[in-house]
């Protein structure tokens, strides 16, 4: 069983920077766990602590029910794909992949078989004699993947492995990584700050912010029921509209059964529907369009609520006939509304 447990893990760097605080979650055997969050939130730090490249200041990390706090990276039986690939520049592609097996005294014929197998899966068989500097970025990425999979480790670690690739290749590799992980069934931890990558890859999504965990769960759960304002704003593109309602409410927004206390109401652009003025609905807004973004299959209307310049995004299917400067009204269903406490940022149960 190659599950990964993190218990109250904390990290304070030399110099006093507190990078992580009380991180606790379990990754089940074979799951694909994605750590996502804005730059500097501590994703890499956490991944490197699992790898053994950073010391663990407090708490405990265990892999397969064995605490690894005091183990050298070489003893943890993990494989890592680095953002810059970190291939050995003086070794051929073959040797890059064979290196880890040789270190573990694997018999020669088996090394040969495993490297050839990995090369076949990743379609890099024709590159085995080349040096890393003779490869394109995408090919280097594949070699880095190959180096990880030949070892058949307990856990795969990825630190933004796709961020140096162009957009098209990134999508292609994303699909391949997911497929590969499924077939091999190896527990994986994947770091990214691309929320789309996070949503598509993860079985289990961990949203981090400023060294804390905001929410852990399956991607759709985080999308449908964000527990904090941060998660609400982070997951989904374009992001959820988060409108702060003071006690007196705001002009241009009508909400049935409005809570008396100040509240943040969240509504995704895709949950709005354009409607004629005066349509009765649980939530209705009236806004003046300031910008129109057409993406093909859908269109985003950017607008400002009446009176105050608060920005709201509304998605409409297909092409929009509206013009900039036009006034529109949009409505949303009750079950698509999210409420958050402005003081704590936590989800409120409002009926």
């Amino acid at each position: 069983m190659n599950n990964v447990h993190l218990r109250k893990v904390g990290k304070i760097y030399a110099g006093g920077v507190e990078a992580l605080r009380d991180i606790a979650f379990d990754i089940p055997d074979g799951a694909f766990c994605v750590l996502v969050g804005p730059s500097g939130c501590g994703k890499s730090t956490l991944l490197r602590m699992v790898a053994g490249l950073e010391t663990i200041t407090s708490g405990e990390i265990s892999i397969g029910d064995r605490a690894v706090n005091d183990l050298d990276p070489s003893e943890r039986d993990i494989a890592m794909v680095f953002q810059n690939y970190a291939l050995y520049p003086h070794m051929s592609v073959y040797d890059n992949m064979a290196y880890g097996l040789r270190n573990r005294k694997t018999p020669k014929p088996e090394i040969e078989a495993r490297v050839q197998e990995a090369a076949r899966i990743l379609e890099i068989g024709h590159l085995l004699d080349r040096k890393p500097r003779q490869l394109s970025g995408g090919q280097r990425q594949r070699v880095a993947m190959g180096r990880a999979i030949v070892r058949k480790p307990r856990v795969f670690l990825f630190d933004e492995p796709l961020s140096n690739l162009d957009a098209k290749l990134r999508i292609q590799m994303r699909v391949e990584i997911k497929k590969l992980q499924r077939t091999l069934g190896i527990t994986s931890i994947y770091v990214t700050h691309d929320q789309l990558e996070a949503m598509t890859l993860a079985d289990m999504l961990v949203v981090m912010n400023k060294g804390n965990i905001e929410q852990v769960g399956p991607p759709l759960q985080l999308y449908e029921r964000p527990e904090t304002v941060f998660v609400a704003g982070f997951i989904g593109a374009p992001p959820m509209n988060l409108i702060e309602l003071p006690e007196g409410g705001v002009a241009g927004l009508a909400l049935e059964n409005r809570p008396v206390a100040p509240v943040i109401v969240g509504i995704r652009p895709e949950h709005f529907e354009l409607a004629p003025v005066g349509t009765p609905a649980p939530l209705g807004i009236s806004m003046q369009i300031t910008a129109i973004e057409m993406v093909g299959a859908e269109t985003y209307l950017y607008g400002a609520l009446d009176g105050r310049g608060r920005e709201v995004i509304v998605r409409v299917a297909g092409k929009a006939e509206q013009q900039i400067g036009e006034r529109v009204t949009a409505v949303a269903e009750r079950h698509n509304l999210h409420f958050f406490d402005p003081a704590t940022g936590r989800r409120l149960a409002v009926s």
Partner: protein, 293 residues
């Protein structure tokens, strides 16, 4: 777009180059030419007449076992110094690369010897190891070794090897440290994750990636031992005892200045020049090609 300085006149570039060219001509080409010319001449014992003899000086030189002994000493000397100063410097650089905390103080201390003039370094070592007064000699004697570099050829040889090594460590250290810092951290980390022990990481990743630096330093160190250790040898042992510490360069000086055999001494200089040219050629040819990865 290429940035280029353009000169209006034809004369200006030459004038700008002139001082450097002049220095090279006066202090390098002219004496070198003189040496080549001298090596074809034999002066009679009283310095009254000179005779052009083609390669006779070389023939005489190469027929003397003495010359081969000096050659052997020089080769042993340079092999030892190059090996010791390179490996010690590498060891120190690896340590400095690890412990970033005290690194700056530690580095400064290591770089000091480089700033010391060779003759001064020689004198320092002479004092420390002087048989009757030297502090270190005292300690060695206390250990039961009859230390006497003034009379014992092996001791003298050990002394110059140590002094020459000490002098070159700082330079090598700087280059190794720069070389180590140029290796991406993630590559070393990848090898750790790939299951390599620290020792194996060093020999399979760090050391091969340092090879361009190592090769460059090897050539520089050999040239150093051949030519720049003159000051150290002159100050500590004067080539003795019994010529045990006489290197090729020291012999040029000894035969020419003290032995007044100008022709033979010039012939030795010419051979040394050829050695330097050879080493430089190797460096240019292979540093670019072979040691690249």
């Amino acid at each position: 777009m290429e940035k280029r300085v353009t000169f209006n006149g034809r004369l200006l570039p030459y004038m700008l180059l002139a001082p450097q060219l002049l220095i090279t001509l006066v202090f390098f080409y002219w004496p070198a030419g003189q040496a080549v010319w001298q090596s074809f001449l034999i002066e009679d014992a009283f310095g009254l007449s000179t005779q052009f003899v083609w390669f006779e000086n070389y023939q005489i030189l190469l027929s003397k076992p003495d010359y081969y002994r000096t050659l052997a000493i020089t080769l042993t000397f340079s092999a030892l110094v190059a090996f010791l100063s390179l490996s010690l410097a590498l060891l120190l650089a690896v340590q400095a690369d690890k412990h970033i905390k005290f690194a700056s103080g530690y580095k400064t201390m290591l770089i000091w010897p480089y700033a010391v003039a060779p003759a001064i370094a020689g004198v320092l070592w002479l004092f420390m190891f002087q048989p009757s007064l030297g502090l270190v000699s005292h300690a060695i004697r206390a250990l039961g070794v009859d230390w006497n570099p003034v009379l014992n050829p092996d001791h003298a040889f050990t002394l110059v090897v140590m002094a020459a090594t000490w002098k070159k460590i700082a330079y090598n250290f700087l280059f190794f440290l720069a070389g180590l810092q140029a290796i991406p951290k993630s590559v070393i980390e990848a090898s750790a994750i790939d299951g390599a022990s620290p020792m194996r990481r060093f020999w399979t990743i760090t050391f091969p990636l340092l090879s361009p630096t190592t090769f460059f330093l090897l050539v520089v160190n050999v040239v150093y031992v051949f030519f720049e250790t003159f000051g150290i040898i002159d100050a500590t042992t004067g080539g003795g005892p019994a010529k045990a510490t006489q290197t090729l360069v020291y012999k040029v000086y000894h035969d020419g200045k003290l032995g007044a055999d100008l022709g033979g001494s010039a012939a030795q200089s010419v051979i040394l020049m050829l050695i330097v040219i050879g080493l430089t050629a190797i460096q240019f040819r292979y540093v670019e090609k072979k040691v690249q990865y």
